[in-house]
């Protein structure tokens, strides 16, 4: 591969030069927000915010779910129009009314939800709107090569000619990252880029970010993982309920202060772990094989959290879907409370008492253009039905309870799921199952995009479920989470179960090494 990121970015930079404003020395303000504000109808997503970003810094933004972080990013990249306020770019007032305006200045973002075209190839997505042409025709080959070059350069092991929709969410996120790195030649924003990434890919991403910083790019980094913020950032700004409550130099603050700023109270402990006496075995798989995984034998007992860790593509989600009856099994047996069962489809699984909160909230989890209430109640409508019709009171009560318990930030259960912030959407996917009364809960990346406060809530809810005698399979690419919570931790690699550990029996490094096979 001949072209790397720099070559491709340089091509873009040449176009950017014309409009991008004068060069700003490192450490001087490059982008200033003055009273920037955004209302959706009556919802004040972002109250007048005044923030300054310095040239060449890594600036983290943290805040609870629905605090307005993504809204801020969308304003800066011309995705949505602002309600009021001013933006200064290199000292000049700019509109940033359209995505083109932002792109032209070298401002780009990796958005929280992957916004790419699933039907197009990876290369086509990376060059969308910025194609290489010769005499009016696209240079498809050149673009594929260049895209491959960039991907290889960044260490992302992805084929540039694959159709985007065939990749997993995490892989799509990497494509979006590569794409933004090509275009955000002066100002680059990452909105929870590590949500779907494992340690391995996160580390790659951090290297990329540092490298870009070295090249003079200003970076904005949004994350709910505070250790990442401390690892990476120079300064950090905190948003709470749409208000900018402060900016700190990273050297002058600590986790406790940030959490206090974010949620206006302190949490002693995020990972809430209670050990319950383990009961009978709820489910046991013997040599289970299916598309994407093979020969998986594990069991879950009442009161137990079984963690599954692995890299993207390790086959954990497929195993979960196979166990849940969504995908056909090719070999192996499932024993449910000691009895051999055939789980042919999802409804059979539900009848047995299995609940699955899937990995991708957008593709598998939510009916985005339907109300929150319907989304929450979807698995339990049968129970809410009295005679022919749904008991509307019970329907409302159930939805409201989950909204309250999970602190889903919404004016009403009637609001469409698409109007929720990412973390709040995730809570809907979780909340849907909490009233279901299942015996086995499979949570696939349950806390993706969820803020620390709510994470702690969710872990407490796990404990409540265990207390009632349920078992949990917790799939997570975030090692600390599985590490701190799982009574038994299984490591997956390339579709196989390669190692198992008891609660905190192995070190992080050991687990990671097993997942990577390094």
């Amino acid at each position: 591969m001949t072209t790397g990121l720099q070559e491709v970015a340089r091509r873009h930079e040449a176009e950017v030069k014309a409009v991008s404003g004068r060069p700003v020395p490192r450490g001087e303000p490059i982008l200033e927000l003055r009273g920037l504000q955004k209302n959706y109808g009556t919802v004040e997503a972002l109250k007048p915010a005044t923030v300054t970003f310095l040239s060449g810094e890594i600036h983290a933004i943290v805040g609870e779910n629905g605090a307005g972080k993504s809204t801020l990013i969308k304003l800066l990249t011309g995705v949505i129009p602002r309600t009021a306020g001013e933006v200064l770019w290199c000292g000049d007032s700019v509109q940033l009314a359209t995505p083109n305006e932002a792109i032209a200045r070298g401002i780009n973002a990796v958005h929280q939800e992957v916004v790419l075209c699933p039907h197009l190839s990876v290369a086509a997505n990376m060059f969308l709107g910025d194609e290489m042409n010769r005499r009016g025709l696209m240079r498809k080959r050149a673009m594929t090569d260049a895209a491959q070059g960039v991907l290889d350069d960044l260490g992302f092991n992805l084929p540039a000619n694959a159709t985007l929709g065939s990749l997993t969410i995490g892989q799509q996120q990497l494509v979006a990252t590569a794409r933004a790195a090509m275009r955000g030649t002066r100002f680059l924003i990452f909105d929870e880029p590590t949500a779907y990434l494992t340690r391995q890919e996160s580390a790659q991403l951090f290297r990329l970010i540092r490298r870009l910083q070295g090249e003079g790019v200003t970076i904005v980094y949004i994350s709910h993982r505070l250790e990442e913020v401390f690892e990476l950032a120079d300064r950090v700004s905190v948003l709470r309920d749409g208000t900018h409550v402060g900016t700190r130099a990273i050297s002058e603050t600590n986790e406790g202060e940030l959490i206090a700023l974010m949620i206006n109270r302190t949490i002693e402990q995020i990972y809430h772990k209670e050990h319950f006496p383990l009961g009978e075995t709820i489910v046991e798989t013997r040599g289970l094989s299916g598309p994407g995984f093979a020969d998986i034998s594990l069991s879950v007992r009442a009161g137990e959290i079984v963690g599954l860790y692995g890299l993207i593509g390790a086959g954990r989600s497929e195993f979960a879907l196979g166990l849940y009856g969504r995908q056909p099994l090719t070999a192996g047996e499932v024993y449910w409370q000691g009895r051999k069962v055939e789980i042919g489809n999802e409804r059979k699984a539900m009848e047995l008492g299995i609940a699955l909160a899937p990995e991708s909230r957008r593709d598998q989890g939510l009916c985005l253009n339907l109300p929150i209430g319907l989304n929450i109640n979807l698995p339990v409508f049968r129970r809410l039905t009295r005679g022919l019709t749904i008991n509307r009171g019970a329907e409302a009560a159930n939805a409201d309870r989950q909204i309250r318990d999970l602190k889903i930030k919404t004016p009403s259960r009637r609001v469409l799921a698409s109007a929720m912030s990412g973390g709040n959407q995730q809570k809907i996917v979780i909340g849907r199952w909490l009233s279901h009364g299942a015996k086995l809960f499979i949570f696939d990346e349950p806390t993706v995009g969820v803020d620390v406060g709510t994470k702690a809530e969710i872990y407490r809810l796990f404990a409540r479920l265990l207390e009632k005698g349920a078992g949990i399979i917790l799939i997570s690419s975030y090692l600390p989470e599985v590490y701190e919570l799982a009574d038994r931790l299984h490591v997956f690699r390339q579709g196989r179960l390669v190692a198992s550990h008891d609660y905190r029996a192995a070190s992080h490094e050991e687990v990671l090494a097993q997942a990577i096979n390094a």
Binding site: G41, G373, L374
Partner: protein, 324 residues
């Protein structure tokens, strides 16, 4: 948390500059009626209102059935053909001396079977709804023509043919049939869990499936409802024109889909109601009725229909967007 209240849940509606902007579809229909009342004396006569109710009735029922399918992000192009075909079936059965009740039941059963066939094609054979229903559209007309040998079968059963002319409590029986269909349809779509499932499947069938919704059964349900509604309209048509003829109801599928879309249904699924398509159908019927009363040239009538559809849907869009 019924789906139609979603709109009102949003932030307070922006006041439109014009009063027209705030009008619901029902409001627009009433405005049309008031204008026609001013423009022609005949409009508000009981006789004409009866006519109007009768004229919109069949499309209205088709549109309600069609809406179920569209909510699942599907489409049923066959409804017009099913109407023509079932009019032939009932005429044929009656001509063969089958008792009336049995002929009606058998005809409706054929409607169910057609729906089953569509859903089978979609669910098991993986065919796009457009293709499988287009294929039945073509084939059913062929079968109907074969049965009648290209001609029509007269219906001599007076009880049957008188039905469509009859009134009950001063309201035409055909309009009663709309009510008979609309009320259970409303309960089904907006109050029962199966209605919720239709929306969920149309919005994200994978999410619905993983939440334990029987997606296949939901699709069967939608197509069966649509073609059974069509078979029911076939009965009404046979009663109204007193013949069975396979080429009748040509293009009614477009009318039904248009009524549904005018009534706010989205062809991408997950958005729709029962009252919307009813209003859509009666808006279209009113336009035709009004043009006839005003003795508008038939060609101008087409032009005006097109323009009015644009105007009405535009105002309706404005209101919806305003209230977001």
């Amino acid at each position: 948390m019924s789906v139609e209240t979603v709109e009102s849940a949003g932030p307070t509606p922006k006041r439109g500059i014009s009063i027209l902007f705030g009008l619901t579809l029902l409001g627009l229909l009433v405005v049309l009626w008031l204008l026609l009342g001013l423009a022609t004396n005949a409009f508000w006569t009981p006789n004409n209102i009866s006519n109007l109710l009768r004229q919109g009735a069949m499309t209205a029922i088709l549109a309600v059935g069609q809406t179920f399918v569209i909510i699942t992000a599907g489409i049923d192009l066959s409804v017009g053909a099913v109407v023509g075909f079932t009019s032939v079936i009932v005429a044929w059965l009656l001509a063969a001396g089958v008792p009336l009740w049995l002929a009606i039941v058998a005809t409706l059963a054929i409607g169910v079977l057609i729906g089953v066939f569509h859903a089978f094609g979609i669910v098991r054979m993986g065919l796009p709804p457009f293709i499988i229903t287009l294929a039945t559209l073509t084939s059913l007309r062929g079968i109907g023509l074969l049965i009648t040998n290209g001609s029509t079968i007269s219906i001599t059963d007076e009880a049957f043919t008188n039905f469509s002319r009859a009134d009950f409590l001063g309201i035409p029986s055909l309009f009663w049939m709309v009510i008979v269909v609309a009320i259970p349809a409303y309960v089904f779509l907006h109050l029962s869990r199966f209605g919720r499932y239709l929306f969920a499947v149309g919005s994200n069938s994978e999410a619905a499936r993983l939440s334990g919704v029987n997606v296949n059964r939901t699709i069967y349900l939608a197509y069966i409802l649509s073609s059974t509604c069509a078979a029911f309209v076939g009965l009404l048509l046979a009663s109204r024109i007193g013949i069975g003829n396979a080429t009748q109801a040509e293009g009614w599928e477009l009318q039904a889909i248009a009524s549904s879309v005018i009534g706010g249904t989205s062809l991408f699924g997950a958005v729709g109601s029962v009252h919307g398509p009813l209003l859509g159908a009666f808006i279209l019927a009113t336009i035709n009725n009004g043009a006839n009363l005003l003795n508008v040239n038939s060609f101008w009538q087409r032009i005006i229909t097109g323009l009015l559809i644009i105007v009405i849907v535009y105002f309706d869009q404005l209101r919806r967007r305003g209230s977001r």
